[in-house]
């Protein structure tokens, strides 16, 4: 037995040595700078190929820099990124997965202005740059990879069957949704109704807040219980009670239902078209797009941010990638490949617009992110407080005004505690 023990000890020592050798030699094998790029889009069926091509183009034009891809599931981006930054093992570039405001407030990111001159791009930057990417010193910290206004997609065939016209006001929208709902077989619309999907629920209610021209904050004061916000919450409840939306399904399943032709309307970004093409191309001929039926003509904007951690090992090379991505020709290529707006607005060429008439409502649409202006570093906590109350309104019929009053109170308490 002792011999066995000795043998085992030797073998594991050998294995450990080999493992350590591999660990040390592999990254520095070539003398190139390798930057590590962390993203969840490396897991997404359509996007993956586009990003791969983008990276190949970058590597071709920047010899000496190689990009190592690290895919991380969306649900884990926050945890993995924060752990790695705290453990001083940060990736060189990473998607920020919803924590851009916190990351900027906590000083995790390297300001882009130190490496990139934004002056010539001033009028081309989309609104998200100023809304969420700015730090206290006025510098940009997060790169806007994608800026997507959410407009209305609808199923023309279902509309024709129910004899419904494209709605242009909120009331028309509600009536249309009711007409398009057949119990358990078909729904008019979908909303996030499960508070466990905090960020997505907050985004959905924000869309409706903007529909009524409400705001979460004005002039550096929280306005969670202003009249327009309460109207939005009541509308959300109205849609829920009328059962024109499926209850409790997660957003992914709701989207699936839409692609299966079981839901008639959706407020989504332009990527939605590509996904339909990837998942159910037969449905494409039935798909129509229209501006959201809101009097304010303001839609919610979904933004994907990239950031370079302050303690990243290869900041210069990472900034080179950002610079590359900001080039106008690359932006145009990206927009036309993915059908989403990127860092710069109005990059879609006229041929693209002609070839893709469905893109019309998205081109130059007025959108606003769901960040709470002036309080963006508390956006996670605020969104949790708001969705808690919204969940109470939906599932146990708490009155909207009482709910939002409590949300306002809790949010103010939370901020005064943390300051």
């Amino acid at each position: 037995m002792k011999e066995v023990l000795c043998f085992f000890r030797n073998k594991s020592v050998v294995i450990i040595l080999i493992g350590l050798m591999l660990f040390f030699t592999l990254p520095t094998a070539f003398g190139d700078t390798t930057i590590e790029f962390m993203h969840y889009q490396f897991l997404e069926a359509g996007k993956k190929d586009i990003i791969d091509e983008l990276i190949s183009m970058f590597e071709a034009q920047n010899p000496g820099i190689k990009v190592k891809k690290t895919p991380v599931p969306l649900a884990d981006i926050q945890k993995v990124l924060s752990t790695r930054i705290a453990g001083n093992n940060a990736p060189d570039i990473s998607v920020l997965g919803g924590i851009q405001s916190k990351a900027i407030a906590l000083g995790w990111l390297e300001p882009l202005n130190n490496y990139i001159d934004f002056a010539p791009l001033k009028n081309l930057l989309c609104s998200a740059w100023d809304e969420e990417s700015k730090g206290a010193d006025g510098k940009y910290y997060a790169f806007v990879q994608e800026s997507m206004a959410h407009q209305m997609f609808y199923n023309k065939r279902l509309f024709a069957e129910a004899g419904v016209k494209v709605p242009t006001t909120i009331d028309e929208f509600f009536d249309a949704a009711k007409k398009l709902t057949k119990n358990n077989e078909q729904y008019g619309y979908y909303l996030v109704t499960n508070p466990a999907e905090t960020a997505r629920m907050f985004f959905d209610i924000t869309k409706w807040v903007y529909a009524y021209d409400g705001r979460w904050s004005r002039n550096n004061a929280l306005t969670l219980n202003e009249a327009n916000v309460i109207k939005a919450v009541e509308m959300y409840k109205k849609l829920y009670d009328a059962k024109v939306v499926p209850w409790g399904t997660d957003k992914g399943t709701s989207r699936k239902l839409f692609w299966a032709g079981k839901i008639a309307m959706a407020f989504e970004g332009p990527y939605f078209y590509e996904w339909i093409r990837a998942n159910n191309p037969d449905l494409l001929k039935d798909i129509g797009t229209a501006p959201v039926p809101f009097p304010s003509h303001l839609c919610g904007g979904e933004i994907v941010y990239l950031g370079i951690p302050k303690n990243a090992p290869h900041k210069e090379a990472a900034m080179a990638f950002i610079k590359f991505f900001l080039r106008k020709d690359i932006q145009r290529w990206y927009v036309e490949q993915t059908s989403v707006e990127g860092a710069l607005t109005g990059m879609a060429g006229p041929e693209f617009l002609k070839a893709n008439p469905w893109y019309a409502p998205f081109d130059g649409a007025r959108s606003k992110t769901s960040t709470v202006e002036g309080f963006s570093e508390y956006s996670t906590e605020i969104s949790q407080i708001v969705t808690n109350q919204l969940g109470a309104v939906l599932s146990i019929n708490k009155p909207a005004k009482a709910a939002m009053d409590q949300a306002q109170k809790e949010a103010e308490e939370m901020i005064s505690r943390k300051k």
Binding site: M1, K2, V4, L5, I16, G19, L20, F23, E36, M38, Y40, F42, L43, E44, A45, K69, T70, P71, V72, P73, L74, A75, D76, K79, V80, T83, R84, A86, G87, N88, N89, P91, N184, E185, D250, G252, T253, R255, K256, L257, W259, A260, K262, W275, N279
Partner: protein, 294 residues
């Protein structure tokens, strides 16, 4: 004569009645068992048939309890679109080595706690109990920093170390309990015969404690196989993903392909089930003999 006949008659009647009672008991027991098995196994059955369902049938109400036609497209998609075999290989590697190290350390420690009375014994027992109580979120960042300094990040060995360590308490207890029930005379005889301590442990005690070892191995295997929180934080290289990380990645941003998710979950569970089936007869005997006694 009549009295005798009477008693024989009575006996026959009683025997028949007992038989009926026994059959009735049997019937109820079997029914009860079948009902229990159906209730407990239902979620897994549901997982299986969801993975074999066609897309259209999946998102309709009412849900189907039986699958017809059987659609294995989900499995095909999972296997072609995701490197599931690599995940399985990685998980098996990490789990096997975690079990190995956990077993090694637990056998040593359990024997030490069982057979010897020495200063610090109580302290060691306390420490082992203490480590059972920690929420993993409390220690994940400090561990991350320690592993980074030791260059154990993004490496299977870091995970193996942390898995083994988390398995040590329960395995040590199991082995200690089992060792407690082995009579000391065997060891004393061996020492008189000229064995040293190590020989006693490895040549005599260990072979006798095989059931407990297998039980401890199963416990640590399942712990390592299903581990998620540490795996997703420490491993960043996609080549090194485990099955748990891979499964979580199915819950994408766009949509949750339920049939693929269930197919993936099924494929990732099969090895654990197979191993359990092979080793299951040891687990009870290994835990027995007053195994969980202080």
């Amino acid at each position: 004569m009549t009295v005798q006949q009477g008693t024989i008659q009575d006996l026959r009647i009683r025997r028949r009645r007992n038989k009926i009672v026994k059959y009735r008991e049997r019937f109820f027991s079997y029914t009860g068992i079948i009902v229990v098995c159906i209730i407990i196994g239902f979620p897994l059955y549901w997982m299986l048939i969801t993975s074999l369902q066609t897309q259209n049938r999946l998102l309709t109400f009412p849900p189907a309890f039986w699958v017809h036609p059987i659609e294995i497209k989900a499995y095909k998609d999972v296997v072609t679109n995701y490197p599931i075999w690599q995940w399985l290989r990685n998980s098996i590697f990490v789990s096997l080595f975690s079990v190995l190290f956990a077993m090694l350390f637990s056998v040593l420690c359990g024997y030490s706690l069982s057979r010897f009375r020495y200063r610090g014994r109580k302290f060691i027992s306390m420490m082992i109990l203490l480590t059972q109580m920690l929420p993993s979120t409390l220690i994940i960042i400090p561990i991350y920093i320690i592993f980074r300094n030791a260059k154990l990040l993004d490496s299977f060995w870091g995970l193996i170390l942390s898995n083994s360590t988390h398995a040590i308490p329960l395995c040590t207890w199991t082995l200690k309990g089992y060792f407690d029930t082995i009579p000391k005379e065997l060891e004393d005889a061996a020492i008189v015969d000229g064995c040293n301590q190590w020989d006693v442990l490895f040549r005599i005690m260990l072979p006798m404690a095989v059931p407990a070892c297998v039980a401890a191995a199963i416990i640590s295997f399942f712990g390592a196989w299903n581990e998620y929180a540490f795996a997703v934080t420490f491993i960043s290289d996609p080549q090194k993903w485990l099955t748990t990380i891979g499964l979580a990645s199915f819950m994408g941003d766009m949509y949750t392909p339920w049939d693929q998710v269930m197919a993936g979950a099924f494929l990732c569970t099969v090895p654990a089930i197979v191993i359990f089936i092979i080793l299951q007869r040891y687990i009870v005997s290994g835990l027995t003999s007053g195994a969980i006694k202080e």
